[in-house]
């Protein structure tokens, strides 16, 4: 984007959108508690997917980092930030690689990879914090949860991304409409 004012406005709007999605998700979680800790839908990930498709890896990493920081300030404090930032950054990186290298996957598949990497990274952080290697067992549970939630989020992203692009008046570089 040539115009830096527009750039700031678009990224600001996307950061606000992702933070709002994170808050909305925590409200859904409060209404329908899942008996499995750490399982969530990850709808804020729609914004990361959008940034990866329409802008760059660095913008997606920056926005997901800032979103994690905001969500930690809203809900959990700094401890939660340490716990969730590695997952957010690694999953964004994994989705970037999947988007570039695994051309046969649609957005839903890319999102599944992101969700699984995110969950595995969280388990690894938990093992590092507690020193309890038995928690790796929990990684298998979260792998299944990641496949399901990633698919749901990916389908939601596929449906909403063209509308976000239209609303912000940006044109996407890749490929998210590639299979249409």
């Amino acid at each position: 984007m040539r115009n830096s004012a527009k750039r700031a406005a678009v990224f600001g709007a996307l950061l606000a959108l992702s933070a709002a999605l994170a808050v909305a998700e925590s409200m859904i979680g409060a209404l329908f508690p899942v008996p499995v800790p750490g399982v969530k839908l990850g709808i804020a990930n729609i914004v990361s997917l959008f940034l990866l498709c329409c802008f760059s890896l660095s913008s997606a990493l920056t926005i997901s980092f800032l979103r994690t920081l905001l969500a930690s300030l809203f809900f959990g404090g700094l401890g939660m930030f340490v716990y969730s930032a590695p997952g957010a950054l690694l999953s964004t990186l994994a989705m970037y690689i999947a988007l570039r290298r695994l051309k046969s996957l649609s957005i839903a598949g890319v999102s599944m990879i992101g969700a699984c990497v995110h969950n595995i990274a969280q388990v690894c952080v938990a093992v590092l914090i507690t020193g309890e290697t038995g928690l790796f067992f929990y990684g298998f549970v979260l792998l299944i949860a990641g496949a399901v939630s990633g698919a749901v989020t990916g389908i939601a992203a596929r449906v909403t991304m063209p509308r976000i692009a239209a609303a912000l008046n940006v044109r996407c570089k890749i490929s998210m409409f590639k299979e249409v």
């Binding site: 839903a108 598949g109 599944m112 938990a126 309890e132 067992f137 299944i144 496949a147 596929r158 449906v159």
Partner: protein, 117 residues
């Protein structure tokens, strides 16, 4: 709608589920659990016999042992995720309360012997 989920997506989905299920089967031991270990910051702070029903607290976290299983009964952490997780009884299963850096893991008989040595 048919272009939203591609064949590769479905194959990926099934592979992840299969890998997770196989991993869980390999990870979880059989047999009866006898003991649970409570760790704080990675150090064992308490070894609990699961045959005896009891309630005890470790650093602001209340544990309950009932019918050979253990759960986080109350915790002072914000998310309460460890409490929602419920009871654990299979050897190999474990859960942590990250804000308190406290974890519990259920041991099978062979692991109990190994820890005792």
């Amino acid at each position: 709608m048919k272009h939203i989920l591609l064949k590769a997506d479905i194959i990926l989905f099934l592979c992840i589920i299969a890998a997770a299920v196989i991993g869980m089967i390999l990870f979880l031991g059989g047999g009866d659990a006898k003991t649970a270990l409570i760790r704080k910051d990675g150090n064992i702070v308490r070894r609990v016999n699961l045959d005896t029903d009891q309630t005890f607290s470790v650093d602001g976290v209340l544990f309950e042992v009932r019918g050979g299983a253990i759960r986080f009964k109350e915790s002072n952490c914000p998310g309460q995720e460890c409490v929602h997780a419920g009871f654990f009884k299979r050897p190999g299963s474990s859960m942590a309360c990250l804000p308190n850096r406290i974890s519990v893991t259920v041991l099978g008989q062979s692991e109990v012997d190994a820890v005792a040595e």
